[in-house]
Structure formats: C-alpha cells, structure tokens
Subunit: 456 residues, 2 copies
C-alpha cells in the first residue's frame, strides 16, 4: 500500500515498530513511546495492544494509559476491552467516551460488566446517556443497537439554501453523514437527498426535488443481519431507522453494516468448523479449550456410531483383513465431498442466493455432481485397487461404495443446511458434524456391507 503524504496517521503498524514499542516499554521511556505511537491510527494501536502479550500490554498501559482515547477504545476487540478499560484512570475514561458517537458508545457498553457499564454511563453527558440507554433498550443484534442517534434532518419543504444555512449554523454535526433526511411534521422520514446533489443544486431548488429515487428505512427492532443484507443488496451508504410508529430515531451508516457482514462471515466460518463464534487470537488456551471441547465431545459420540457400524462387520474383517485398511478411504473422501457441498450451500444461504425458488434445482445439481464425482473416483479407486491388490471384485466393491457415499455426501451437504434453515435455525451450526457423521457411517456401512455380500 502506498502512502504518499507525511500526514499524521499515514504510518502503518509493522514488526519493526512493534519491536521498538516493546523496547520503549521495557525501558519505561514514555517520550519514545509517544513518538512511536502518536503517528499511528487508532485501529493500529488497538491491533498492537491485541497482538502483544498480556504482561507487555499491562506495562504499556501503565506507561501510556493517559493517551488512550475513545477511538482506540472502540477499535479494541472484545477479548481485551475490559482489561484495557480497567487500567484507565477515571478521568481518561470520561474524556474518551465523551468523544464517541452514540453507536460507538453502545458497542462499547454491550460487552461490559455492570460496574464498568455504570462507570461509562456516568461519564457521558446527559443527552448522550439518554441516547445510549434508549439504544440499549433495543434487543441485542437489532438495528436499534447499531444506529447512531445523531441524525441530520430537514423539513420536506426546505430548499437547498435553507438546508445549507442550517448546516452552517449547527454546532455539532455527526462525524460522518452522507444524506440529509427529509421528515414530515411528525418526524417520519419521507426521503433523503445525498450531500453531493445538495452541493451541486442551486440554493432555491427544493430538497424534495432532488431526493433519491430509491429510499428505504429499517425498523429499530429489525435484525442487524437483515440490515446488513439490504445495505449490501441495494448498495446503501446510510439508512434511516424508525420506531414502530414510523418516527425517525437514528441512522445506520455503511461502516456499521460492513462490520455486521464481517462478523456474520466469521460466525459462519467458525460455526461450520465447530468453533464457538467468539473465538479470537487473544484468547488463552483455557478459553480456547472451552470453545472447542463441546463439539469435540459431540463428535466423540457421533464417531462412536461409526465404531458401532464397523463392529457389526467384525466377522467380515477377520476374514479379509485388508478391508480394515481400505475402509477409511471411502469414508474420508465422502467427508471431503460433504464439506464441499456444505460450504457452497451455507454460503449461498447466507447471501440469499439459495432460496425456495431454486432449492429443488440446486439439490438436483448436487445429486448430479455426486453421481459424476462418484463415478470418477470409483474408476480411479476401483482400477487402482484391482491393479495394486490384484482383486477385481475388491475394486468393484470399493467403486460401488464410493459412488453411494459420494451421492450421500453431496445430497447431505445441501439438504442438512436447507433443513436447518427451514426449521429457523442457523444453517451453519452443527451442519459439519451432521454431514461428516453421515458420510462416515454411510462410507463404512456401504463398503463393509457390500464386501460382506460380494467378497465373503
């Protein structure tokens, strides 16, 4: 990435700088620390705090906590946020949270324990505290938690000139705003005009003559995932939020929506892999164990199903011992095929590309792909086994079991998440375990079953 100007935060975080920071902390050299950290963007300082070890972090905060501002606080990941807040002197915290927009305050409050919450609420100015408490009254994961209450509105009959004069007079505008929202006398939004169109229109043009053709609002109780979807689908840059009676209560901007999308991605990926969705690199070994062990224990039991299936065929295996060595091939290739089909389906459900309208077609497509992959793999494995082990019948059993299991895998990969979705559950959750259990059990059963019929 190219940075062409010697602007304040045009410096990026790299290993050299991290090493220099750690050396300055070690030497308790506050001036050097200031010089090193001051040019960094808040997001980079937050990353630095996350990436260094906890004793270095404590030492750094002890030296430098007076410089922590609101932007750094809201960039810091949940994993270490409480720790950092605890280390701040009261007056630094007060100063820091007063700088923040209301949506950032809410984001900060969400993951804190009650005493810290109270401390931050007390630090806010009255109007900001009321706004934060109002937002916190909306359910977790709702649009109301995501919005900032600072909005820029104008009556629908204003002209461009009136709007500009009003903006010039207003003391405290939001840091980022992209539209002026037109409201009726009941504070219901009726449209919005982009700042670009306001700037380029004449002073006497009425705002309602330059509103965007396309205009959407969301309700404060709508789920944040639906909000993120409409930002992405309709290329919104900001979206007014209304209460149940249609009155404007806030606005959501694209950076918040982008954050939600990013978190949902992470959730899908981690859930598919059977990890609690709050996993972070700052977690310790014990926290990591707690996130992962539940799924591993579940898998222990589902894997025992495979063991049960295999144990039914002990007589067959004792007659033809090579079956024990070959059976994981069919099961494992099925697991991979199931995972492939599953990843495509979960992704398509998340982006709403897989819907009721095409579910049947996609399932048939998977069936077709399963048959084709099964035949391809069966030919390679069947002939391979025949040539290497010299037994055409064993090759045929391997091939047939492979075809059966590939079909089960690709169908299971799409049917399991579709069924979970239809039941109102997260299609990513538990799908992986379901599907690999299915392909393991079917893989062992098909192979050993066919072998016991055809080879013994």
């Amino acid at each position: 990435m190219a940075d062409h100007l010697a602007e304040p935060d045009d410096v990026d975080l790299d290993q050299t700088r991290i090493d220099a920071v750690l050396a300055a902390v070690e030497a308790e050299d506050r001036t050097r620390l200031d010089t090193l950290l001051e040019p960094l963007h808040a997001a980079d300082i937050a990353d630095l705090l996350e990436q260094i070890g906890s004793s270095d972090r404590r030492a750094l905060l002890a030296l430098w906590s007076h410089e922590i501002d609101g932007d750094i606080l809201s960039e810091i990941s949940e994993g270490i946020r409480e720790e950092v807040i605890d280390s701040l002197p009261r007056e630094v915290l007060t100063e820091a949270v007063r700088d923040l927009e209301s949506d950032d305050v809410v984001d900060l409050l969400e993951d804190l324990e009650q005493p810290q919450k109270d401390m931050i609420l007390e630090a806010l100015e009255d109007a900001d505290r009321v706004a934060a408490e109002a937002a916190m009254a909306y359910p977790e994961g709702s649009a109301g938690r995501l919005m900032q209450s600072e909005t820029v509105v104008a009556p629908e009959d204003w002209t461009v000139g009136q709007a500009i004069d009003f903006l010039r007079k207003t003391d405290r505008l939001p840091d980022q705003f992209y539209h002026v929202i037109l409201v009726d006398p009941a504070m219901k939004p009726v449209g919005y005009a982009t700042l670009g169109r306001i700037l380029s229109a004449g002073r006497d043009v009425r705002l309602d003559a330059i509103v965007e053709e396309s205009f959407r609002t969301v309700e404060a109780t709508d789920e944040e995932s639906d909000v993120a979807y409409i930002f992405n689908q309709y290329h919104l840059i900001s979206c007014p939020v209304v209460d149940s009676s249609g009155r404007l209560v806030g606005v959501i901007t694209i950076d918040d929506a982008m954050n939600v999308l990013d978190e949902e991605h992470e959730e899908d990926m981690l859930r598919l892999a059977g990890v609690g969705d709050e996993a972070s690199v700052t977690d310790g070994a014990f926290a990591t164990m707690k996130q992962r062990l539940p799924w591993l224990v579940i898998n222990l039991f589902t894997a025992s199903l495979s063991a049960l299936v295999i144990s039914r065929f002990e007589a067959t295996i004792s007659t033809i011992l090579i079956l024990a060595a070959l059976m994981p091939i069919v099961a494992s290739t099925g697991g991979i095929a199931g995972t492939q089909s599953l990843a495509v389906a979960v992704r398509a459900l998340a982006t709403r590309d897989l819907t009721q309208a095409n579910a049947r077609r996609v399932v048939l497509r998977e069936l077709g792909a399963g048959v084709l992959n099964g035949i391809g793999l069966a030919l390679i494995l069947g002939f391979g086994a025949w040539i290497i082990l010299g037994d055409p019948l064993l090759g045929a059993v391997l091939g047939m079991a492979m075809i059966v299991n590939q079909i089960v895998a690709s169908l299971g990969g799409v049917m399991v998440p579709l069924t979970l979705e239809r039941m109102g559950l997260d299609p990513a959750l538990a799908s992986g375990t379901f599907v690999t259990t299915l392909t393991d059990v079917m893989g062992f059963f098909a192979f050993l079953g066919l072998a016991s019929v055809m080879l013994v």
Copy 2:
C-alpha cells in the same frame, strides 16, 4: 425489513412474485411482466434471473430484454452474464452500458469473451472507452480495475464557495461521491474534504482548512485485497487512486471495497472446504463436478496414506478385531480439532490479527488447548471404553492416542496455514487436506502403534 413508503423500488423479491413472474412469462404477457418487474430494484431483478431455471430465463429475456438496463447487467453474477448479454438486442446493450460508471463497465468487461468485450467497448462514448481501456490495462485484481475514473477535484487554494459554485456548474458528476479531493497543480492529491464539512463551512473558508486529518491514497497497481483491508481497518468511505508518479487517476468507493471483502471471504470459505473459488448456485452439475473432483482425487491419494499405515498393523488388528472398529474415533476427533484450529488461524490471517508479532504466542496457545482438549477427551473415551468393553488397558491406549492426536491437530491447524502464508501462498488453499491427512495418519498410527506395543 420494513418499507414505509410506496417508493419505486421499495418492493422486495419473494416467492409469490417469482411465481407470478414465471406465470406471466408462461402466458407471454408482457404488460403483466412489466407491472411485476418494474417496481423491483436492479439487484433483485438480477437475483430473479439467477434463481430461475435456464429455460425460464431464456423465455423471460425473449419477452423483456428491451427493459434490461446497465444496473441490472452489472448486478448479474458472472455465471449467467454472458448468456444475458448475448440475448440483448444491440441497441439495448449500447444504451445499457452508456449509463454505467467506469468501474462498473470494467467489472462487466472483465469476465467476457473478446467479441462481447469489443461490442461493449464500441457502444461506449469515446471518453468512457478510453477510461475503460486505461483501467483494463492494470493487472486483474488491482486497485486500477476497481476504481472509477470519474473524480471530483479542486485546487488546494480554493474556498468552499468556489467549490460549491464549480459543483453547481458541472454537468455530469459521479452518481456517488463523498469527498472533494484537493490536488496540487501536478494533479497530485494532497488531501480531501468531506461533503459534510464543505456543506457546513462558510463560503469563504479555504478547503485546505477543513480537510480530513487522516488521508490515504493507494496506487493503481496495489492489490485489491490490500485496498479492501485499508478501507476496513481505517473506516474509509472513499480513497483516491494515484499512478506511479503520484498523479490522481481515479477513486475507489466503499461499495467496491465491500464487494472485494465479500469475495475474499467467499474464497477463503470455499478454498478451506476444497472447492474452486468460483462456485456458484447457478453452476450446473458438470461445472460443479469440475470444481470439486480435483480435490477429491487428491484426497483419494492422501487417504491411501492412512490405508498404508493401517495395513502395517494387520497382524495386531487380526489379534484384537475391536481395534478396527475403534480406530476411526481417534482419527475423526482429530480431524474436527484440526479443522477448528485451522478455521481460527485462517480467519485471523485474513483479518491480519495473526501476525509475526503474536504467531509464537498463538502456536503455544494451540499447544495448550490441544493438551487440555486431549486430556478431556481421553478421560471420557478411556473410561467409556473401559466400562463398555471391560478392558482398562484398551481404554488407556485410546486415551493416550487421543492426547497425541489432539496435540498434532491443534498444532497442525495453526502451523500449516502459517507456513503457507510465510511461503507467500494462500493459507486457505490446501490447508484442509493437509491437516486432515495429518490427523488421520497420526490418529491411526498412534492408536494402532500403542495398541501393538501395549495390548498384544
């Protein structure tokens, strides 16, 4: 989602509407089709075209192709874009592409064959064609391909009033712009002012007095993934693009960056699952087979490694047949643990939360989690096997193999992607196969090896 106004595109796509559209197509009722499709947003029409079957799509386009505009074209997924473009009358296509911003034209051109490319280039006005060709000269996946060449600039010594007067005079402004970029006489960007600050400042305020503190540019040859990262990290809304001599050549807006992030995420998820990263629900069974078979064949060979390991222990298995039934438990639980560790590591590498600075700490964390999970699972499995099978020594062998394999899994899950990253390769690519091969082979080897020493 709540839509409170009867605005043009405030209608969403649902199954009822899709069914009605298909009925209108069936009846060749063009008026009805217009009524149904006209209120939809271009993105929803594109989704509709993607979700219906290919014969329905052909019939719909035959009836309705005159209404396809540039926005719909640029929303349509690559999978069916050529098909749709081929169905359009020449004059419709010409009209459609002339409406588009230069970045959307480039996006459209990228995936087309030469004859279609030429057709579109010819349809453009001269200035637009030159801009599109200039952008296409930058490498695929670079900032130059992502940017729009339409920029809004002002000399650094202008006042707010001069800028507003200039914007009011300018005929054709970009659809979306969020900053006025200040340039020096050599067209090098020196800062930018948000439209919000321009609107709220007095006419005689100099633009360079209200520029944003933080200002970044990217080079046209920078990789789009780096661009997406800095948008996300630094909460940018737009970013000027410069050529190698620092001259302004375009601007990238957040919707493009959001798109890149979304695609990268899809890529990670699909690659981890061993699917070609261009998989889409519109692909047919044959295309799907082609994306998936290569990984399945690779897995066939790696799974044969497990078979080879097991076959070395045939004598042991023939003595204690129950080993054959139990051995997949250790291997499969290891596979899940490896996948968990891998998903966390790949995600953290993608978000740059896992870096050189904390790699050692994260690896040690994984080691710790592996030991803890291993002990937990070993206790459950070991005592379970003792109680059910009545053999404490067999339980001990299962437990010890489990501990070994859990450690291998959690270390492998983080070391494999870290190593790939260090080699300059995509950490998501092939990691899954590596790690599950490792845990399978180690699982079978540890369990059968220990059994052959302790039980026989």
